[in-house]
Symmetry: C2
Subunit: 301 residues, 2 copies
């Protein structure tokens, strides 16, 4: 059974056992635009105890640089090196695993985060936030971008696109007609929480493309994919026996930590409730759970 973090000695135990703390962001540190209680204090506590903190997010609409700004807005200091987003993990994949030649372009169905991270690796993107793909597909317009498929595109990346439309889906399909062009998903979260509502997530964009193209992505770069863990491990040389993954989702965060060989801490400020925790098999139980991340700070006072 999971141990509930409910006393000062529980927190002292965590501090003694773990050197590195991996955090999911939305649902753990904040909910949308609203910082959760005592987050800055908890992060300060960990850092002042010499702990390494790393932020791991599946939201591919932002680059690492965008996240640094978002943290700053909340009054939290974070460096680019501490942030692992699925947009960055995707760029690492395209560069290191696919080894796509730099003269090849990437078709992006997704937001600016992917485009920015690919650019840092020297890749030109098409699609993404290009306004020429906004609006309606007009097959009678000979100038439509659907008739301007670029033969230099060497990979297709699909992530969350909150400006998704039929036009972009149709163009994405044309690039996937060539079986030699690999199809990569940034992540496959089915939903995207916003303002207390659930909106379609990256997985919803990916599944639409899967159906239309008849192809499956060769990989998903977000949690719980191993690719994300490998990228973090490569950059930070994790001692996995002394690393804790903190998150609010069982099927991404907790799975990611468990399958990566880490201890896990579920917080109940996001997707899951104490009821869903009770329904889990022994193997699926997180190592720890807490009502909220800020409890680590509060319980020590």
């Amino acid at each position: 059974m999971s141990i509930k973090i409910a006393s000062k000695s529980h927190v002292e135990d965590l501090l003694a056992k773990y050197d590195t703390f991996l955090f999911d962001c939305d649902g753990v540190l904040w909910l949308g635009d609203h910082l959760l209680p005592n987050i800055a204090e908890t992060l300060d506590l960990l850092r002042s105890n010499g702990k390494k903190v790393i932020f791991v997010t599946n939201n591919s609409s932002k680059s690492r640089a965008d996240y640094v700004k978002k943290f700053k807005k909340f009054g939290i200091v974070a460096t680019t090196e501490e942030i692992f987003g699925s947009s960055y993990a995707t760029a690492v994949y395209v560069d290191s695993i696919l080894q796509l030649p730099k003269n090849k372009k990437v078709w992006v169905l997704g937001g600016s985060g992917i485009v920015d991270e690919l650019k840092l690796f020297g890749y030109e993107s098409l699609g993404g936030v290009d306004p020429r793909y906004d609006g309606l597909l007009d097959m009678n317009d000979p100038e439509s971008m659907i008739y301007k498929i670029d033969p230099d595109v060497g990979a297709v990346v699909v992530g969350l696109d909150t400006k998704l439309n039929y036009y972009k889906l149709a163009v994405t399909m044309q690039y996937l007609k060539d079986p030699k062009v690999p199809f990569i998903a940034t992540n496959i979260d089915s939903t995207y929480p916003s303002k207390g509502m659930k909106l379609p997530g990256a997985g919803s964009c990916v599944e639409s493309v899967v159906c239309a193209s008849g192809r499956q992505p060769i990989t998903s770069c977000g949690k719980p994919s191993k690719g994300m863990m490998d990228a973090i491990d490569k950059a930070h040389k994790l001692d996995k026996s002394r690393t804790l993954m903190v998150g609010d989702r069982l099927n991404t965060d907790m799975k990611f930590g468990r399958e990566g060989g880490l201890a896990t801490l579920l917080v109940l400020t996001g997707i899951e409730t104490v009821e869903t925790l009770g329904e889990l098999s022994k193997d699926e139980q997180p190592t720890y759970f807490a009502d909220k991340l800020g409890d680590l700070y509060e319980l020590l006072q």
Copy 2:
């Protein structure tokens, strides 16, 4: 093995054996805006021999009335009663099978064909071609339609929407949060042929909703669904042993005919080729195949 319609006697045999001819439209009668050769002549031939002709299409973007106009544009006479589209089949389903009370509304992610057919059965639609759902979802706009979910919606219909966007997907998800609201797909064709290209089909819209909502449609109303065959049978009292289904797709048209107990004729003017025919198991073979439907007329001359 399938019999190739390649001589006058083959055609005479068809005329002797079958009284009712069911036709898929796109890929059989026309390709996009281009009528295939000798189609009007073939239909005239059948009618002058006392045959009943029925047109069965999965394209839900048009109503039966729209189809009558489209036929007329091609110089072909067809009546509303001869046309079975998935938009009509969906309206029949909502009315006869679901028996949705008439004071309930239907949320439509799809085109005007669905809205028009539902209206003929007395149902008010929301969504569809309403321009308020064009453009981008703005969660910061308190007037956004995402905050105006209508509690009178009693069913959700998803079909091909060539104006699909994230905004409509997000609203569709909100209506599907209530498990008592049934989710109906007009059809699940993965692709939609247009101007010699393959564009995303209704299935691509449906799969996006399936992923985001975590729900599966309770039925699909297009071919090869039994619901479509039942609707035709109810209206025309088919003698199935003397009915032939003509189409260009194995996984919709031919499956629909075969599973409905009809003889089948595959034409090679659309999706399938003589090579795909050769790869089929004995059970999957259509009864007949022909290079094109117009061969029925040409071979008799």
